[in-house]
């Protein structure tokens, strides 16, 4: 930074009023508020346009006013919680499987060149197949819809975890392994004290990406079969033409996704040893 954040008076003391107005903290809070207000404004404007056009007036409940009213109702009567809990469970389980399978896979790719070479093409191929295209197979293979949905989420989330782990491992300073080997580290010690902490940040970044993909796959996956969850609730609201509830659900999905992402970000900061 070249420009001083706080102006200095002639006697060397800071001019606090000017300083406050130019405070970077205040500015930092101002921009996000501006952005969120902009989004709400656009939403409101869209609602007005829809309401003003006789062809689309039936959808006018999409506007922020009715949507937030519906959200309040749904929070009170517990129907939001009813939709959110099964969805969170499915995403959580899918993510857990993605980590349980993807992490060792990534370590193998990063540490065993033969494994990396053998799996490169198959994995890149599988990664490029939209997870939703496994839907028919998942439905045939698994006994319950729930299991099929968890499988689809796993299929989507596993690649970011795997590749982030492998990538993190490739960046690790080889001298760290040499020193640890010299100090007597074998198998388990090497994994727990050297490899895992060294790649923790990369793995968590992979998990964060995976969560984003899982959250996106969740809703379309829940359109089918199941009778619970956010995707089901959206479909249901559309079928009974309750557009205010539909909009409230969309807001819920966005807010929850944002919250989950923030948790990941906090974890990344917590386990990161990289100096920014």
């Amino acid at each position: 930074m070249t420009a001083p954040a706080v102006m200095m008076g002639p006697d060397g003391r800071s001019l606090t009023v000017i300083g406050l107005l130019r405070s970077p903290t205040l500015l930092r809070a101002a921009y996000p508020i501006l952005g969120v207000s902009g989004l709400l404004g656009l939403w409101w404007l869209g609602g007005e346009v829809i309401a003003g056009n006789p062809d689309t007036a039936a959808f006018s409940d999409f506007a922020p006013g009715p949507a937030f009213a519906a959200l309040g109702e749904m929070l009170l009567d517990g129907s939001i919680l009813e939709a959110v809990v099964p969805s969170l469970l499915r995403v959580g389980l899918g993510l857990l499987w993605a980590i349980v399978i993807g992490l060792p896979l990534g370590i193998l790719i990063g540490r065993v060149p033969a494994f990396r070479d053998a799996t490169h093409i198959p994995f890149q191929f599988l990664r490029m197949v939209s997870p939703l295209s496994w839907m028919p197979i998942a439905v045939m293979t698994f006994n319950t819809w729930d299991a099929a949905i968890v499988f689809l989420i796993t299929a989507a989330a596993i690649w970011p975890v795997t590749f982030a782990t492998a990538n993190g491992l490739r960046k690790v300073d080889p001298a760290w392994f040499k020193v640890a080997r010299n100090l007597g580290a074998r198998g388990w010690h090497m994994l727990m004290h050297i490899i895992m902490p060294a790649i923790a940040q990369d793995v968590l970044t992979g998990v964060r990406l995976a969560l984003g993909v899982a959250w996106i796959v969740l809703v379309p996956a829940e359109y089918l079969g199941v009778t619970s969850g956010l995707g089901y609730a959206i479909n249901d609201a559309r079928d009974i033409l309750e557009y205010d509830r539909l909009a409230a659900l969309v807001v819920t999905i966005g807010v929850l996704g944002f919250a989950l992402d923030s948790i990941c970000l906090t974890l990344i900061r917590r386990y990161s040893w990289v100096r920014g």
Partner: protein
């Protein structure tokens, strides 16, 4: 702590990195006495680091072997520790946890290892830094932590690969003095790879001068100086000149190694490739 360093025998080690590639080390045969400080000097690429990795058990030689106290080694061990130009501390651990790592791998928990960690940090003049993040230390302080970490498992041999070359002159001078004093104190056998003749004269009891392509021992000479050694001391300066002469000799292109050395300065074990194979073996 260690009360004796190990005896090391480099038994006719020949090494190439791949079956068809050039010979990096050619029939190196050196015996190092317990507690001796040996410097290996040579031009870049003559195989010094390779030789040190082989002694540490981090690389298997293509031919020959390393014997530590008469036992052939077949892998790395906390009893012979190597230190590198970079300290390679683990940034997710504190100074104390870094130092305790070798003990942790041996099954000793941090709280039990702590008294020894504190003792070692005092030894390297970093007593107040046990809970510091290693990323907050200067390069010289980091290298001191790496030294304490290397000493934590009570090694019998310390192998240093240009450990001070990334440091400023003051820090380097202090560390040279300290490492030699610590090694002598603990009786550890020291093998030091360096580009720097001064470093060899200040730190070593004996110097090997190596030739490149293929790596061979060109000269093997004792550095007989009292401690402490100061760079400005005339005796130290004279040794430096003498070593420089030997070193320049190795740079000569077609010179016969015997002719580059005054006769009285060639130790009888100076030319491993001219010695009978079994000499010095027990």
């Amino acid at each position: 702590m260690t009360d004796h360093g190990a005896h090391i025998l480099i038994d006719t080690v020949t090494h190439r990195y791949r079956a068809k590639s050039a010979v990096v080390l050619d029939a190196i045969r050196v015996e190092i006495q317990p507690g001796q400080a040996l410097a290996i000097i040579g031009r870049s690429g003559c195989g010094k680091s390779t030789l040190l990795h082989i002694i540490a058990g981090l690389i298997r030689p293509a031919m020959g072997g390393i014997y530590v106290d008469g036992t052939r080694i077949n892998g790395p061990s906390p009893k012979w520790i190597m230190m590198f130009q970079q300290p390679s501390l683990y940034p997710w651990m504190t100074v104390g946890q870094n130092v305790a790592l070798g003990m942790k791998f041996a099954g000793t928990g941090y709280s039990k290892a702590k008294p020894r960690v504190e003792e070692l940090l005092d030894l390297v003049h970093l007593g107040d830094y046990i809970n510091t993040n290693v990323q907050d230390l200067s390069g010289g302080q980091q290298q001191r932590v790496a030294l304490a970490r290397s000493l934590c498992t009570s090694p019998e041999v310390l192998l240093l690969d240009e450990p001070f070359s990334a440091l400023d002159a003051f820090t380097r001078a202090a560390l040279r003095r300290d490492v030699r004093a610590i090694a002598k104190d603990l009786g550890i056998t020291l093998v030091l790879v360096t580009h720097d003749i001064d470093e060899a004269v200040i730190m070593a009891d004996r110097a090997l001068v190596m030739d490149a392509n293929p790596g061979r021992v060109r000269a093997d000479t004792m550095i007989d100086l009292p401690d402490p050694r100061h760079p400005a001391d005339p005796a130290v300066k004279a040794e430096r000149e003498r070593l420089m002469g030997l070193f320049e000799g190795t740079a000569g292109l077609a010179m016969d190694p015997i002719q580059t050395l005054p006769d009285d300065e060639i130790p009888d074990h100076a030319m491993p490739d001219t010695l009978p194979r079994a000499a010095g073996l027990t």
